[in-house]
Amino acid sequence: MTSARALRSDDSGAQRRSVELDGSFVRFLRDNYSKILKFLLRQCFDPHLAEDALREALIVAMDKWEIVSKHEKPVYWVNKTAWHKLLTLHDRQKWKDTVPLENVEDEVVEPASSHEAEMVLRHLLSRLPLQQRAVLALMVEGDSDEQIALQLGLAVTTVRTHKSEVRKKYRELFQSGSDGGRREPR
């Protein structure tokens, strides 16, 4: 009798735990889904590819949420996993890159809003190699060199190298002056 009651109590505990986990995962998704999707979109410009990669990562995250939710920052784990899924899908496409049409040879003007800043950012991203894109995408989130290195599985020195390359490319693309080159948005 006592053991049956204990079993019932275990069952209800497990159910309660499962409901709590589900609730926690839903909250996580509500707060972070758009942000993670944007992180991926800033790298591949192909919404379907980005959504596929994110869905794959989130299915695993949901399945292992009991472990993942205990991480210091679960969003880092999802970012890392989704990024690797994206790279795998990208590899399967044999590196046929997608470039957004709206960004091709546009005249870059002073961004006045966050949306316009995003457009300028995408223009810059489309001209970078994949790892540098990922570093820049995490720079937008305000992550430190160490945090970027942890999420992308790179050395801190590599992140610094990529950051320096990104800044150099930005200057090249948007250099000021009257030499006919593009102007830095100002």
């Binding site: 758009s34 999707l37 299915i59 966050s114 300028v120 937008v140 599985g153 050395a155 990104v166 100002r186």
Partner: protein
């Protein structure tokens, strides 16, 4: 605006209600997908690393190596403190070494690097170490079997808390295939840019116009005036064996072309196919052309001991053209070819086609011939190994089609494919090729990369993809390493290799012939 200001402005972009709705939809889909997968199997299996990225108990080198493993990259780690070098099992696989037998040391690593790349690799590593910056490099590795692979590495410098270098991690993977693809594209672009058109219009062996150039010539003539077209078949009188001796055939073609040229003087002549020649006689009456054609055929028949053959079996077909009765040049050619076949059938030296067949009649004759060839499988498939001399390995096998002539000898398919495309019967031929090629590939060990050439016209057929899918399933072919190529196969040079598998003859499989 500098980059930091741009990033700060972009970061202010907050999710729209539409994005929130998308997140909710995604949530539902993820739940459904997870449920479905759990129904399919007890556990969701995926290549992920469940460790907390912020966990401090994993060193930088190990963290990078684990990330590389997730992406199926190999990793090499060198620690400055211990002077130890190690590489992952995946790296051993890429190097073509067994993990247990591999002696892992710096000297062993550099021994694997191609001698031509060693200095550059050392210099790049030195630069990275001095500048504490990452470098990407591509170098060649000499494999145990003597072949060469191209590997791409990201070399990263590990540092301690005070930014002092403590080691190196290099993650890499094999990029030979993409390197190969890029080089093929470059070579193709170079070839397209450098081939002289006028050289491509002349057959190298006989010096006569190529089939394509001759058809153009016929087209020009038939649009502007009247005249006649003679097509001659020049075959050795007897051939006991069905074996192909391409060098001897070339000698015969060259010798016959010389005889032909001496007789017809200035009229345009072309090599239309194996042992088939065309002579265009513009502005000639039918009677005059008939007597000239008889003279040509007789002269060739009277020729003895030509290119190792005692006698030649020569048949001619003659047709006339008129600019007032517009007919496509390929159709004229087809009529003349049908005429020489009739001559052969009736054992006459020359058949003169006084009345052109109607378009329907011509199409029906041609289609019947093509369908007959498909139904009777009058084809042979060859696998041509493509050997990369730089990599010292066979990179792929190209499946080539040959049409069997009346004696069962394989002939280049250009003429046949050209007609099949013209008569819209190419799909049946391509389906035959796909079925038989995939069957042979399915029966082999499938260790090679095969390339099957298909007409662009067939590729446009919406049902072809289903046909390929079903054939792939039916014959148990692993679709990963195969290409379908829709380049113009009709103008390929015939290969000079022996057949490796002919339908019904049970010879070896294509991949093993190279």
């Amino acid at each position: 605006m500098n980059l930091d200001e741009l990033l700060a402005l972009a970061a202010q972009d907050s999710p729209t209600p539409l994005e929130h709705a998308r997140a909710r939809r995604a949530m539902r889909r993820i739940k459904e997908d997870r449920q479905r997968r759990l129904v399919e199997g007890p556990e969701i299996i995926s290549d992920v690393d469940l460790y907390d990225p912020l966990s401090a108990d994993v060193g930088e080198a190990k963290r990078i190596a684990r990330a590389a493993e997730l992406r199926k990259r190999g990793s090499i780690t060198w620690d400055m403190g211990t002077r130890q070098l190690d590489w992952s099992d995946e790296m051993s696989r890429i190097f073509g070494l067994a993990p247990v037998e591999a002696r892992k040391s710096l000297s062993r690593l550099f021994a694997l690097v191609h001698p031509g790349d060693r200095t550059a690799v050392r210099r790049r590593l030195g630069d990275a170490w001095r500048n504490r910056s990452a470098v990407e490099l591509v170098c060649r590795i000499t494999m145990r079997d003597g072949s060469t692979s191209y590997l791409e590495f990201l070399v990263e410098i590990l540092t301690d808390g005070r930014d002092r270098p403590t080691g190196i991690v290099a993650t890499g993977h094999d990029v030979t295939a993409s390197h190969q693809r890029r080089r093929d594209d470059e070579r193709r672009a170079l070839r397209d840019g450098s081939v002289q058109k006028n050289l491509a219009e002349v057959d190298a062996v006989t010096g006569l116009l190529s089939r394509k150039a001759f058809i153009d010539e016929v087209g020009r003539a038939s649009r502007t005036g009247t005249g006649t077209l003679l097509v001659i078949s020049v075959m050795p009188y007897s051939r006991r064996s069905s074996d192909v001796d391409l060098a001897r055939d070339d000698r015969l073609s060259a010798a016959a072309a010389k005889v032909l040229h001496d007789i017809v003087d200035s009229d345009p002549c072309g090599l239309l196919g194996r042992h088939e020649f065309g002579v265009l006689m513009p502005y000639t009456t039918f009677d005059m052309a008939t007597s000239r054609a008889e003279k040509v055929v007789r002269s060739l028949r009277d020729t003895r001991f030509l290119a190792g053959h005692t006698r030649l079996d020569v048949f001619g077909g003659l047709v006339r053209y008129d600019y007032r009765l517009p007919t496509e040049s390929i159709e004229l050619l087809l009529d003349a070819e049908t005429a020489w076949r009739r001559a052969k059938h009736g054992d006459q030296p020359l058949h003169v086609l006084r009345q052109q067949p109607s378009a329907e009649e011509r199409r029906e004759i041609c289609r019947a011939g093509i369908r007959n060839a498909v139904e009777q499988s009058r084809f042979a498939l060859y696998a041509q190994p493509l050997r990369d001399l730089e990599l010292n390995r066979t990179t792929r096998h190209e499946i080539l089609l040959r049409v069997l002539d009346d004696a069962g000898r394989p002939t280049p398919p250009a003429t046949f494919l050209h007609l099949a495309e013209h008569m819209d019967e190419i799909l049946a031929v391509d389906k035959w090729v796909i079925n038989h090629a995939l069957r042979l590939i399915g029966e082999s060990s499938q260790t090679s990369h095969y390339q099957i050439n298909i007409s662009g016209r067939s590729l446009a057929d919406p049902l072809l993809l289903d046909h390929i899918r079903s054939a792939v399933d039916r014959f148990g072919v692993d679709p990963e390493p195969h290409d379908r190529d829709h380049r113009d196969r009709g103008h390929r040079k015939p290969d000079r290799r022996p057949p490796v598998r002919r339908r019904g003859q049970g010879a070896g499989l294509p991949g093993r012939a190279g």
